[in-house]
């Protein structure tokens, strides 16, 4: 009997593991099908609060438009405001030059394009959650990005049915200077009818400690009006 139970439990494990495996494979397939979505607009709102006094230290809002021009995705500043005051685009362009110059050409990179292995671990954490109407299953992961070489870990929630990634909660393993902690949540849009899948919003909480002051910066990046880039 014991032997039978062992065999059954082993078989069950194999079934679970292969189910996990196939769910991840589905996630990868969806990512592969949808690798080239580009948001027309990126809206970034950010607020920084003093943790001690709970006073607002500052806020910014930035809207950037992404269009295709001669095969390059160009980033045009639409509006920019600091503490509710709109600033001139010339000034803002100088300040956000690094963001504007960024190469946003989509590539087939990121954790959804990798089979779990040495640089990328994935494990079912046994938790279920309903997110945006999808029954999701949680997977804990640890991933080292190929390009930036930075490591992050967290939980990715996949739709039980389709395998589509619906939410990703994660933190970098190493914080930048003056940052004591970063938590990020990435929400994905998924339409089971047509298979469209792309990042919708990213919420991040950054804890900063500098010159004796502790602050928290809450940033939300929203992506909208998505279009497909054809390479």
């Amino acid at each position: 009997m014991k032997k039978i139970m062992t065999v059954i439990s082993m078989l069950a494990m194999i079934v679970v593991l292969s189910a996990e495996q196939s769910l991840w494979e589905k996630a990868m397939e969806i990512a592969a099908e949808n690798w080239n979505w580009i948001p027309r607009l990126t809206t970034t709102t950010s607020e920084t609060k003093n943790l001690k006094s709970q006073e607002l230290e500052g806020s910014t809002e930035l809207v950037v438009k992404h269009n295709l021009y001669e095969g390059i995705i160009i980033n045009e500043l639409v509006t920019s405001s600091i503490n509710g005051q709109e600033e001139s685009l010339e000034e803002a362009s100088k300040r956000y030059i690094e963001i504007l110059q960024r190469d946003n050409t989509p590539t087939r990179s990121g954790m959804f394009f990798h089979v779990p292995g040495e640089e990328f671990t994935l494990k079912n954490n046994g938790k279920d959650k309903q997110i945006s109407g999808f029954d999701c299953i949680g997977f804990d992961f640890s991933y080292r990005d190929e390009e930036s070489k930075k490591k992050s870990s967290g939980t990715v929630w996949l739709d039980k049915k389709s395998g589509a990634p619906i939410l990703k909660e994660f933190s970098p393993d190493k914080n930048p200077r003056f940052v004591t902690g970063i938590d990020m949540i990435m929400h994905y849009h998924y339409n089971p009818d047509n298979g469209e899948w792309y990042a919708k919003t990213v919420d991040s909480n950054v804890h900063i400690s500098a010159m004796g002051r502790k602050m928290i910066s809450n940033t939300t990046v929203s992506y909208s009006e998505h279009w497909r880039y054809h390479n």
Binding site: E70, I72, I73, Q101, R102
Partner: protein, 1188 residues
């Protein structure tokens, strides 16, 4: 006192032999140079200067160009003068005398400095004198010279040479005063020379020509900026003006030179020499000799000699490797090499991957300067060390053999060279690693640098040691040695063409990944042996003649030493071996293989023309079918072939005789017609045969010619066949018989034709010439042919030729390939055989195959993409591709080109397979592919008559087609960069035109016209009238002229197809029928922000149009032209920023200066007039301006 020192220094210098040696060498150099240019040696081509045959060889432009190059010599003369100027006071302890007198340091330094620099100037005048006198020599071809004008000789001196003497002299003086060592002066010379060479290579690439012209210390860049776009007429008549950038450059750098000189004087301390005596102090310690000291018994013999050798070797090595300048020079050399390596193989500003042979070759190219300097410097140091430190008398009295002395020096210098080459190999490996390339091939480095290069430097070292032994002056010996190697290239221009007569010269070994060290290796080895024997003889004379004590050179002593113990026998044996090796080489190069000096080849071409040109217009049948059986033997590098031509009489008259030409390089020729005939002329020298038929060939009648021949490789030759290789054979149809007289063998240069009393000849016939219209420009003996070939090769190789592969089989250890073309093609084909990897795809029912060397897979995808995009565009624009297959095949880098044959594109390994394509660089594998694929329409379907403008139809439209494909693939900035490249190539090309510039429709094979300007004007037209409109015209033209039989089409017929509105008719005339140049620029532009958020750009635009004649004489034309004005903003993305047009209009310009006011919605950053080069703008860098 200044005056006295000045004249004392002059007097001293004038008593020195070296002064006269310098003067005589420069005089001879100037004299020889003009003799060579003036045709005294009847060299075939003199390419010392660019400018073509129409530029007078003693114009101010040519004189300045020549003297600018000669200023390289001056660096070493100045170094020699400066280093001995003060060091001799140290060596002779004369400073005690000087510094105890009331001499100001200003007088001491400046008087001597200016006296020396004056002499350098006078020595340079000797060259001018040599050039001037040479003009009056009776054998000079006077018509290529203008009446000598003093100003043309003096302006180079005043504008270039004298300012450079002051600058270089001041720098070197400063170096000497700081370091107190003459070795550092030579290091500084090397730095300056390196800066000069880098300047020549790099400054031309700087887009901001204002900066480039000012930062160049030698004024070369400023000079070329002033004269860059001069026409032939300007080059002949205008003196070099000391204005603008050239004037500012000279003021700045002479000023810097004077400041350095003043600083030198200010910082100079009269106690300066005596303060550097740390070593002297050490040396002055008395050494106590023990009283019981006994001189040990000395045994003389081989062991002693060996011990002495090693002792001296250790001493010499210590002397070399303890010398700090060595490391400075090495570091500087490595830096220079890195710059050369980066540039080596760069095409269209796109670098190649750092494959080992490329890096090793770049090292080999960059190190001669360093090696010669180090050889000169350290041979001098080792040869003169004992004399400089006054212990030569003691040393020479020791019982040490001359051979031990000599070998210890030579071995030390060889070890030094091994050290340097090893250092460079390590630097090469580091460079490869830094660029992410890790396929190291140490054996390639070793074989190229140690195997191929090092023997040359060892022999040079032996010569240098000899010169130091013969010439009793260190600095003069330095100069003579450097002069010998710098002047050596002139020996060839003087008519000593055979490599046996050019000291230390060997056949060039080119490494190819496909064919390794290639076919010249055997010849290289034999020549190295040959020169080694001569080097041993030089060693013998150096050793036997070694001066011991204060003796001068004496023949009596030399002969006495030769007779001693029959020493001369050794010399005789070596001389015999030298002559024997030379004889063996001669047997190979001149008996087994045909050797033709350029002059003899020229004479032969003239004789050929005189003998057979009467048959040029003789009616001949044309080849209609080619059937070949070819056997390639890569191991022995032999080819045997046989075949049949079907010939048809396409004329209206009977043909009585057929003329056949077979290349002289083929053997065992057999020619047989299938009807009764008689061989009436058999000229084996020119491979010309005339067959007379009993029954003439009637109109439309067919006749077959069966032929067979072999191409056999024997021994080695000087003009080594680089087409038949152990791996990578690539032969053209030119190896097979041709029908009728072929005028391609005639001499084209008007100057050379005149020398041989040949009548004037134009490269192409007039556009309406009936004989020219009766044949196409590719093949004189066929219109369109059917083609079939069965070709065999060794079992590991694949054969490629035009057509579909019908069958492939193996038999008897050989591979057989049966190809047959579906359809017809021009009579020009090729056969390739190599070990290949292949990538295949089917696209639009066409088999695309790329055959490449297995290591060269880097850019295959780009080429494949290029083929697919090209096929898509061209099929849409011009009509269907007529065959089932299109192949690209790599061949060894002995040729750097790609070409298009029916269904087959041979592509050199050096122009794309190893290109390192980055995001912001021109993807030239794609571009070249697009160009060659376009030829499948423009040559292989539509071909022009053999008249003027033929290459406009073949190449200009092809390049336009490629531009259109590139436009869809490249970013706007990159595409604009390519257009600018074409424009500058055209402008530079017309400046050095050797005949006359033609308008595009009458191009006579001038590359700068049909490739560069031709493509640009077609592109410009497409932008003015619309891409589709032009392409539709071309499509109709293709449909009508496809596979056209004679008379062939011309450019004039093409223009009839282009529907152009009346308002733009002038554009067609200006672009194609005339030589039109614009001078469009933005003089000033400002932007202002309006209240409604828009911006207004106010610009002052200058426009002018000129018509030019063939010699470059321009006249202003009436302007009433549409010219595009574009305003840009700046957008970000893709990792940077790019300019985006926000306003683009064609505006009609009529005035020289126009004020414009343009309102745009976003923030403008730049405005341009014709920014995309749709017109030919002669000042292409001023057409856009950043907005303030």
């Amino acid at each position: 006192m200044w005056r006295e020192i000045f004249f004392f220094e002059l007097d001293f210098r004038l008593k020195q032999l070296s002064t006269y040696i310098f003067g005589i060498i420069l005089f001879l150099f100037g004299f020889l140079l003009v003799n060579i240019l003036g045709g005294a040696f009847s060299a075939v081509s003199v390419s010392i200067i660019s400018g073509g045959e129409r530029v007078f060889l003693n114009s101010a432009f040519v004189n300045t160009t020549l003297m600018e190059r000669v200023s390289i010599f001056l660096i070493f003369i100045i170094a020699s003068f400066v280093s001995s100027m003060l060091s001799r006071d140290m060596e002779n302890k004369a400073y005690y005398f000087f510094f105890t007198k009331p001499i100001s340091k200003w007088s001491y330094i400046t008087a001597r400095f200016f006296a020396n620099m004056l002499l350098v100037g006078v020595i340079n005048l000797m060259m001018v004198l040599g050039m001037f006198i040479a003009f009056y020599m009776p054998w000079i071809e006077g018509e290529y010279f203008m009446k000598p004008q003093l100003l043309n000789y003096l302006t180079p001196l005043t504008h270039i040479i004298i300012p450079n003497i002051i600058l270089i002299g001041s720098i070197l003086l400063g170096v000497f005063l700081i370091t107190k060592k003459s070795a550092y002066v030579y290091v500084a010379s090397f730095f300056i020379l390196t800066a000069y060479l880098i300047g020549r290579n790099y400054i031309g690439n700087i887009e901001n020509r204002l900066v480039a012209s000012l930062i160049d210390p030698f004024g070369i860049s400023a000079l070329s900026e002033v004269t860059r776009l001069w026409s032939v007429a300007q080059r002949n008549t205008q003196p070099i003006p000391l204005i603008g950038l050239l004037l500012w450059n000279r003021i700045i750098w002479v000023g810097i030179g004077i400041i350095i000189l003043c600083l030198c004087v200010v910082k100079f301390n009269l106690k300066w020499i005596s303060t550097d005596n740390s070593k002297t102090k050490k040396a002055s310690k008395k050494i106590a000799v023990p009283e019981d000291f006994v001189i040990p018994p000395i045994r003389y013999g081989l062991t002693t000699s060996i011990r002495q050798f090693f002792t001296m070797l250790t001493f010499n090595l210590r002397l070399i490797f303890k010398s700090f300048p060595l490391y400075l020079l090495t570091i500087c050399g490595i830096a220079f090499t890195v710059l050369i390596v980066i540039q080596h193989g760069t095409i269209y500003n796109t670098r190649t991957l750092p494959v080992t042979y490329n890096v090793a070759e770049a090292i080999a190219l960059s190190i001669p300067l360093l090696m010669f300097l180090i050889i000169t410097l350290y041979t001098g140091e080792l040869s003169w060390k004992s004399k400089d430190f006054k212990y030569d008398g003691f040393l020479d009295s020791t019982p040490t053999s001359n051979l031990s002395f000599y070998l210890s020096k030579l071995t030390a210098l060889i070890i030094l060279q091994i050290f340097l080459l090893t250092t460079f190999i390590v630097a090469g490996l580091v460079y490869q690693t830094a660029r992410g390339y890790t396929e190291y091939e140490l054996n390639t480095y070793i074989s190229l640098l140690f195997g191929i290069n090092m023997p040359y430097y060892i022999i040079a070292t032996i010569l240098c040691l000899f010169i130091h032994e013969i010439i009793g002056n260190k600095y003069a010996a330095h100069f003579v040695f450097i002069a010998i190697f710098l002047l050596q290239p002139l020996t060839e221009q003087m008519g000593l063409h055979h490599t046996l007569l050019q000291f230390n010269t060997t056949p060039r070994v080119v490494f190819s990944d496909i064919n390794s060290l290639g076919n010249n290796l055997t010849g290289y080895i034999w020549f190295t042996i040959y020169w080694s024997f001569l080097a041993i003889l030089i060693v013998y004379f150096t050793v036997i003649n070694r001066r011991r004590g204060k003796n001068d050179f004496s023949f009596q002593r030399l002969w006495g030493r030769m007779k001693y113990r029959n020493n001369y026998i050794f010399a005789v044996v070596i001389l015999f071996l030298f002559v024997l090796t030379g004889g063996y080489i001669f047997y190979n190069t001149n008996v087994l293989n045909a050797y033709m000096s350029p002059k003899r080849a020229e004479r032969a071409a003239a004789e050929f023309e005189r003998k057979f040109s009467e048959y040029a217009d003789l009616a001949q049948p044309k080849i209609t079918d080619v059937n070949l059986k070819v056997d390639i033997y890569p191991c022995s590098r032999d080819i045997h072939y046989q075949g049949t031509y079907s010939l048809q009489n396409k004329t209206a008259d009977p043909i009585q005789e057929i003329h056949v030409m077979v290349p002289c390089s083929v053997e065992k020729k057999k020619l047989l017609f299938d009807r009764e005939h008689r061989l009436t002329v058999k000229d084996e020298d020119f491979g010309y045969y005339i067959f007379e038929f009993t029954d003439p060939l009637m109109p439309n009648e067919l006749i077959n010619l069966d032929f067979a021949a072999s191409i056999i490789s024997r021994g080695f030759s000087l003009s080594e066949n680089s087409f038949i290789n152990k791996n990578g054979t690539f032969i053209h149809s030119t190896y097979f018989p041709s029908i009728g007289y072929n005028d391609r063998f005639e001499i084209l240069s008007p100057r050379t034709r005149k020398r041989y009393d040949l009548p004037d000849k134009k490269p192409f016939r007039e556009i309406d010439d009936p004989a020219g219209l009766s044949r196409n420009y590719v093949s004189h003996d066929a219109d369109w042919i059917t083609y079939e070939a069965v070709i065999s090769t060794s079992e590991e190789q694949t054969v490629l030729t035009s057509g579909d592969l019908i069958r492939n089989w193996s038999d008897g250890g050989r591979n057989y390939f049966h190809y047959k073309l579906n359809g017809i093609m021009v009579n020009y084909y090729a056969i390739l055989s190599a070990k290949y990897s292949v990538q295949k795809e089917i696209f639009n029912d066409i088999d695309i195959e790329i055959y490449y060397h297995d290591k060269h897979d880097y850019n295959i995808d780009r080429m494949m993409n290029g083929v697919k995009q090209s096929l898509t565009y061209y099929e849409n624009a011009f009509g269907p591709y007529p065959h089932n297959v299109l192949r690209i095949a790599e061949f060894p880098r002995y040729g750097s080109f790609a070409q298009s044959l029916a269904t087959l594109i041979p592509f050199s390994e050096s122009i794309g397979f190893i290109a390192d394509i980055r995001k912001d660089k021109v993807d030239y594998p794609f571009m070249v592919t697009a160009h060659e694929v376009a030829h499948q329409w423009w040559v292989h379907q539509v071909i022009g008559a053999n008249v003027k403008g033929a290459l406009t139809l073949a190449e200009a439209i092809t390049q336009y087609s490629a531009l259109m494909v590139m436009k869809n693939e490249f970013s706007r900035d990159l595409f604009r960069q390519q257009l600018l490249y074409d424009l500058t190539r055209y402008l530079a090309g017309r400046s050095s035109e050797s005949r006359e510039e033609n308008p595009v429709y009458l191009d006579e094979g001038q590359q700068y016209i049909h490739y560069s300007k031709g493509a640009m004007v077609f592109y410009g037209l497409s932008q003015y009238i619309g891409e589709d409109t032009l392409n539709n015209a071309l499509k109709r033209f293709v449909a009508d002229k496809r596979y056209q039989e004679p008379p062939y089409t011309t450019t004039l017929e093409l223009f009839e197809y282009i529907n152009i509105p009346d308002s733009l008719q002038y554009l067609l005339d200006d672009s194609f029928m005339k030589i039109t140049l614009y001078d469009n620029s933005i003089k000033d532009a400002v932007k202002t922000k309006n209240d409604d958020g828009t911006y207004t750009v106010n610009a002052v635009i200058s426009t002018a149009k000129y018509y030019s004649d063939g010699l470059g004489n321009t006249e202003k034309a009436e302007l009433n032209d549409w010219i595009e004005v574009v305003v840009y903003d700046r957008v970000f993305g893709g990792g940077g920023s790019i300019s985006r047009p926000i306003y683009s209009e064609y505006l009609r310009f009529t005035e020289e200066e126009t004020e414009l006011s343009i309102t745009v919605s976003s923030n403008p950053t730049k405005i341009g007039i014709d920014p995309d080069y749709k017109l030919i703008n002669m000042m292409p860098y001023n057409n856009t301006i950043e907005l303030k």
